[in-house]
């Protein structure tokens, strides 16, 4: 896998986010701080479902097959819910403490700007965490799709990462707007769309699991877009 794949996928996935950062955030130190804080909140929101997974693993130790898949999907749902919870927490924190302790003289950044920055922080962290290991694998040796899976694994992942980053930005803006205007159904919409996006692949997985259960005798290893990467 060549440098072309690496750079191509890297720029597909992170190009817009980088452009957004360079042109809107890098100029103002306060925004950079908020971005890093947003990234931190996302990170913390990731820890909790992982703890849950650890506990569950002790319970459902060696049972392969559909159980693991269902558990995975459940973990995904849980982590999405917790992420949105942390987005709410971030909003509460920003709204309550305000920015007075950091920047009293200059005009406080508007809530919409904060929403954008926090969404970008969440998005960048989410995208990076999802994709950076795949990216670094793409520099190593191996052949994608050698076992008959899609050879477009990297490209798909890159586009999905791009989509997720931008979605987080939009969700952040919509979410904060909903919080400001106290329209709670907006929050619900954000949560539902997030769940939809995160599970849209796993919906296919669930369907395929069901098909497998029906057909019996097939090995439980097929996922539609999985690429086999050797060399790590």
């Amino acid at each position: 896998m060549t440098a072309a794949v690496f750079f191509g996928c890297a720029f597909i996935a992170f190009g817009p986010a980088l452009a957004l950062y360079v042109f809107t955030i890098a100029t103002d130190p306060l925004r950079v701080t908020f971005l890093i804080a947003g990234a931190f909140f996302w990170l913390v929101s990731l820890l909790l479902p992982s703890v849950f997974r650890y506990l569950v693993r002790i319970i459902a130790e060696n049972r392969d097959g559909p159980i693991q898949k269902y558990l995975l999907i459940f973990r995904v749902l849980l982590s999405v819910c917790i992420q949105e919870l942390f987005r709410l927490a971030y909003y509460r924190l920003r709204a309550s403490e305000g920015l007075k302790s950091i920047n009293p003289e200059e005009t406080a950044p508007s809530m919409r700007l904060l929403a954008y920055v926090s969404g970008l922080g969440f998005g960048i962290m989410s995208g990076v965490f999802s994709f950076v290991n795949t990216l670094s694998d793409s520099l190593g040796p191996g052949t994608v799709g050698i076992h008959g899976d899609s050879p477009q694994f990297f490209l798909n992942s890159a586009f999905m990462t791009l989509v997720i980053i931008l979605l987080h930005v939009f969700w952040g803006i919509v979410f904060f707007d909903g919080c400001e205007k106290k329209k709670w159904y907006i929050l619900l919409m954000v949560l539902l769309t997030h769940l939809l996006v995160s599970t849209q692949v796993s919906v296919v997985t669930v369907l395929s699991v069901l098909a497998e259960l029906k057909c019996r005798g097939l090995s439980g290893r097929f996922q539609p877009n999985e690429g086999h990467i050797h060399g790590k």
């Binding site: 130190p29 306060l30 950079v32 701080t33 890093i36 804080a37 990234a39 931190f40 990170l43 990731l46 820890l47 479902p49 992982s50 703890v51 997974r53 650890y54 995975l72 973990r75 995904v76 982590s79 999405v80 992420q83 302790s101 950091i102 920047n103 009293p104 003289e105 200059e106 962290m125 989410s126 990076v128 965490f129 999802s130 994709f131 950076v132 290991n133 795949t134 670094s136 694994f153 798909n156 992942s157 999905m160 990462t161 989509v163 997720i164 996006v197 995160s198 599970t199 692949v201 796993s202 997985t205 996922q223 877009n225 999985e226 790590k232």
Partner: protein, 414 residues
């Protein structure tokens, strides 16, 4: 490094140099000096904002730089708060750069992840059959390392109290010589080996000589601010790489934890060695040692680079908040980079752990700056960042990483 406040000639030089370093007040002494070697691994990692009046800031090697009095506290407070975010960024950038250098080296140059023995400060080996024994050995290693650091600090305090400036002076020069020449030579050798590039000895000599000589001049004497900052970042990265290579696994983590606790104690307790150092310096109204601190003075006016006495005139300017900057001890750089480097080295090629530690450290730095804006005195920069870093390292490595790996292979995005 060439200036201690004791002698007249040195005073002059320091004034000239401080006119180069900081345009804030005639008595400001933000000097960046040479660096002791690894045996001086103290990490009195305090830092302060240049805006504040009597803060003293100390670098991890026990050197502090005190600033003279001379500005109304109210003004400072306002300005400190106002430029809080700017200061945060002024520190984010060098800390990030240092970490990037360390992580890039760790990921590409195999030398720094190979185990080739241990430092004399960590004599107990970790190749033991049982977990309990290994834990015990790492705790013992930590105790020895911390006691070495404490002893060095007290030694420095004693030297300072009895005004043995030349001794300290010479020590610092020797240490920075070793860092800038020997460690750079080793580093360059390993990088060339990794990329299989041949370099003849004359070229190597020229390169290392130029790098080292310019570094000595910049750090110990006069030089452009950006170059000084770059050199300080480089030597912090080199030190961090040495620690990453020679500290055994578990000992490194326990040492990181212990050093944050020590930092907290030494800076904040009334009887802490650093506090005593700071108080002595304040009594004498002079900088403690040629400090090894990273200074991020923001504005660098054109006339400052010249060595003419007329630049002294700039020192008489009223306090200009634009000139403000923050200082962070180099030991903080080093230990942050050690944490992130260890995360990068141990992660089985995993970048998530490294990134998580990086974000955790930056957030810790942010919080420390917030506390600084509230308390307005010298604060230890290590505890919060290292605590967050450790928490995130262990939780990401054990809990998050398998989860993210599964997600990535199933192309699930959360």
């Amino acid at each position: 490094m060439l200036t201690f406040m004791a002698s007249d000639s040195e005073e002059e030089v320091c004034d000239e140099r401080t006119s180069l370093m900081s345009a804030e007040s005639p008595t400001s002494r933000s000097c960046q000096e040479g660096r002791p070697g690894p045996e001086d691994g103290e990490n009195m990692a305090q830092w302060r904002s240049q805006d504040s009046e009597e803060d003293c800031e100390e670098d991890p090697d026990g050197y502090a730089c005190s600033r003279g009095p001379g500005r109304p506290p109210g003004l400072e407070e306002e300005l400190t708060l106002k430029y809080g975010a700017k200061h945060v960024i002024m520190l984010f950038v060098p800390v990030t750069l240092c970490m990037i250098v360390v992580v890039a080296t760790i990921k590409s140059v195999r030398f720094y992840t190979e185990k080739n023995g241990q430092l004399i400060y960590t004599p107990f080996t970790e190749d033991t059959p049982s977990v309990g024994q290994r834990l015990l050995n790492s705790v013992l290693n930590t105790l020895i390392m911390i006691s070495v650091i404490v002893v060095m600090t007290i030694f420095l305090v004693v030297l300072y109290k009895y005004r043995c400036y030349k001794f300290i002076h010479g020590w610092l020069i020797l240490s920075s010589l070793m860092l800038l020449f020997l460690f750079t030579y080793i580093y360059l050798g390993e990088v060339l080996k990794t990329y299989n590039v041949a370099m003849d000895y004359p070229t190597l000599f020229l390169a290392v000589w130029n790098f080292g000589a310019v570094g000595m001049v910049c750090i110990h004497w006069k030089g452009p601010l950006v170059l000084q900052q770059a050199y300080l970042i480089m030597i912090s990265a080199l030190m961090a790489l040495v620690f990453i290579k020679y500290l055994p696994e578990w000992s490194a983590w326990v040492i990181l934890g212990a050093i944050s606790v020590y930092d907290l104690v030494a800076v904040l307790c009334p009887k802490g060695p650093l506090r005593m150092l700071v108080e002595t310096a304040q009594e004498r109204n002079e900088p403690i040692f040629p400090a090894l601190i990273y200074s991020s003075a923001m504005v660098w006016t054109v006339g400052m680079a010249k060595l003419d006495p007329s630049s002294q005139g700039a020192l008489q300017l009223p306090y200009d908040p634009e000139m403000g900057g923050v200082k962070l001890g180099l030991g903080d750089f080093i230990f942050y980079s050690v944490l992130v480097g260890k995360a990068a080295a141990a992660g089985n090629g995993d970048w998530n752990t490294t990134l998580a530690c990086f974000i955790a450290i930056l957030i810790g730095l942010c919080l420390t700056l917030l506390l600084l804006a509230v308390f307005k005195k010298a604060l230890p920069a290590l505890p919060i960042s290292i605590t967050f870093g450790l928490i995130f390292y262990f939780s990401t490595d054990n809990l998050v990483r398998p989860f993210m790996d599964t997600l990535a292979s199933h192309q699930l995005y959360i």
